[in-house]
């Protein structure tokens, strides 16, 4: 069962992780095939289970500030920053299609 190339590309864009090579794609195909076994189970009338603690109430605490003010600490781990900002490359530029990707990256 082939996963269409369009879906593969879509996945790479969603996950921002690439398959890298045919082995990666093969791995996905096997993962999907493996998952097909789920359809052998009759789940008529069964509710999906989100959490084993579904019968309990979530804990809500008072809306008081108990900790924070740790900007310096948090910024320590970032590679690129300016004053109190994390620095990112320009956004709103979609990941290019597979064919165009190499040239795009070379412009870096």
């Amino acid at each position: 069962e082939q996963v269409p190339a369009a879906v593969l590309e879509h996945l790479e864009r969603l996950a921002l992780v690439d398959f890298r090579d045919a082995e990666g794609v093969q791995r996905l195909r096997e993962a999907v095939r493996f998952a097909e076994r789920l359809h052998e189970v009759d789940t008529e009338g069964v509710e999906p289970m989100d959490s084993v603690l579904e019968d309990r109430c979530l804990y809500l605490r008072e809306d008081d500030v108990t900790e924070g003010n740790c900007t310096k600490e948090l910024l320590k781990n970032a590679r690129e920053k300016i004053e109190e900002y994390f620095v990112a490359p320009p956004g709103n530029i979609p990941l290019p299609k597979l064919e165009e990707r190499e040239t795009f990256e070379q412009q870096s």
Binding site: G24, S51, R56, R61, P89, L95, P96
Partner: protein, 515 residues
């Protein structure tokens, strides 16, 4: 016992720490530790020693050396998850469970090795290399596997620890520390415990805080406890369990730490033997051991019955879908911006993220992210993800039915066989191995139930075999009581470790000291 020794002054906490650190150095070949916090540990030990001299120890764990799996955040000590993505990452905070240990005076020796991001069942897929099972260097193993000629061959016969908390299991098994934290999502604490001949406890989901544990599957992860005996596990559990306002998935009822009684009467117990756990691939040795254990309980007067958990065979498939889906979500935070590895790419945010993740994650992690995203696609969501959630309920209900019919504890094997030699293990890929090895442990995570692996006997090859007990939600006291009784009956042999320095040709460069 060591706690009593500290209290009575027979040994000082500082000396104890020194000895354990020396052991860590002496067992470097095992590659159990990623970071060793020598200076910090010695300081903590010094403080503990002062407290003991004043007669005011913080508790049972004061001055006791412990190790923590490297997917728990530790302030000031590198937390890597055995991945390039987090190499060099120094967390600004301690995971709640780490903080609790430190507040009790425990001496944190270092962070232990694992499969990258806890994905795997061998502790072989991390960037710092595989962990070696200490039993590979035991007299018991060597006697049953005489090496062909000289040391060259000996070095290729070492066996894996199992995973993904292999480093923690190896650390305990080789006497470098007295308690270690692991994590358990599909069996990652119990599997290596069984292979390394130590006790591995997976507590009920919601009992111990996950705050600070780098998440894999939010609805199944739990911190795991590894110790050399069941009593120790109970002690550590007592100190770690309880509601944490920082983890909204911890339950609110007050947890009462308990001591397991010394004399235990199993006659009022009903032990269930799930027939679906007789899986193909279960070694005949483990089958026999399981039978023997069953007889042990029967002879002691317990009621032992066969039960059925009909959806057991689907638990791996279900886990496969739910795990990859949650992983896809949880790994999305690694984009190079706030912490961790960052690629040099500057063209656009998306291309930087993509490059960072390509460089930071290994194939296993990337594979799971992609699979997970596939199952979460709009056109697949109902078919796979929601379907898996429904199957999850069926699996959980199987347990509810069985425990509701009068069964107190389930007894099953933990692993299919004893530990495989590394060279054999790596012949199959990570996903295949995980699917095979998690089969007996996974369902307990699905249902959120407590489970414990107890070392039971040595195999024909001289390696540990463990058996698993699964209990009712939040009934850890009963679970550990039965486990302790069993432990007393089987009298599992102590590992007779031989000097590893002879084999230590390549000193592992990355095992650095962090102050």
């Amino acid at each position: 016992q060591v706690s009593a020794a500290l209290r009575e002054g027979r040994v000082g906490a500082g000396e104890l720490c020194q000895r354990c650190l020396a052991r860590v150095r002496g067992t470097g070949l095992l590659n159990a530790y990623i970071s060793v916090a020598e200076d910090a540990a010695l300081l903590e030990a010094e403080e503990a020693e002062k407290r003991y001299r004043r007669g005011q120890p913080l508790g049972v764990l004061d001055g006791i050396p412990v190790a923590v799996k490297d997917n728990f955040n530790t302030a000031g000590i590198e937390t890597t998850c055995a991945s390039n993505m987090l190499k060099g990452y120094i967390s600004p905070y301690n995971a709640t469970v780490v903080q609790k240990l430190l507040d009790q005076g425990a001496v944190l020796l270092g962070k232990t090795n694992l499969d990258e991001f806890a994905m795997g069942s061998g502790s072989t897929d991390g960037v710092f290399g595989p962990v070696r099972n200490p039993w590979s260097y035991s007299r018991q193993y060597k006697e049953k596997n005489p090496s062909k000629s000289h040391s060259e061959n000996e070095d290729s016969e070492w066996v894996i620890t199992g995973g993904s908390s292999g480093g923690s299991a190896a650390a305990i098994s080789s006497f470098t520390c007295f308690a270690a934290l692991g994590s358990d999502t599909g069996g990652s604490t119990r599997n290596p415990a069984a292979h390394c001949g130590v006790v591995g406890l997976k507590p009920t989901y919601g009992l111990i805080s996950r705050h600070g544990l780098i998440p894999l599957v939010n609805s199944m992860d739990v911190p795991g406890i590894l110790t050399r005996c069941v009593d120790d596990a109970a002690v550590v559990l007592g100190l770690l369990a309880g509601h944490d306002p920082k983890d909204s998935t911890t339950i609110q009822g007050a947890f009462k730490p308990f001591e397991i009684p010394d004399s235990i009467d199993v006659r009022k117990l009903c032990i269930g033997i799930p027939k679906e756990y007789h899986v193909p691939g279960l070694s005949s040795e483990i089958q026999a051991l399981w039978s023997k254990a069953t007889d042990l309980f029967k002879d002691a007067g317990a009621k032992v019955i066969e039960v059925s958990l009909p959806h057991t065979s689907y638990s791996i498939v279900c886990y496969h879908v739910l795990c990859t889906a949650e992983v896809a979500s949880n790994m999305a935070r690694f984009d190079g911006l706030e912490y961790g590895h960052r690629a040099a790419m500057k063209q656009s945010t998306e291309s930087m993220y993509a490059a960072t993740r390509r460089e930071g994650f290994n194939d296993v992690v990337r594979g799971r992210i992609l699979s997970g995203n596939y199952f979460l696609l709009k056109e697949n969501y109902e078919k796979y993800f929601v379907k898996a959630q429904k199957v999850r309920r069926l699996i959980a209900n199987d347990f509810v039915k069985v425990f509701g019919s009068g069964v107190d504890i389930l007894l099953t094997p933990t692993t299919l066989s004893d530990a495989a030699p590394y060279v054999e293990f790596i012949k199959e890929d990570n996903r295949t191995r995980s699917a095979q090895d998690d089969i007996l442990t996974q369902a307990a995570n699905m249902a959120g139930l407590p489970a414990i692996s107890v070392p039971a006997a040595l195999s024909k090859r001289g390696l540990p075999l463990g058996l698993q007990f699964i209990g009712r939600s939040f009934q850890e006291k009963q679970l550990l009581t039965v486990a302790k009784w069993f432990e007393k009956q089987v009298k599992f042999p102590v590992i007779q470790l031989e000097d590893m320095k002879r084999h230590d040709c390549n000193v592992f460069q990355h095992q650095k000291s962090v102050s």
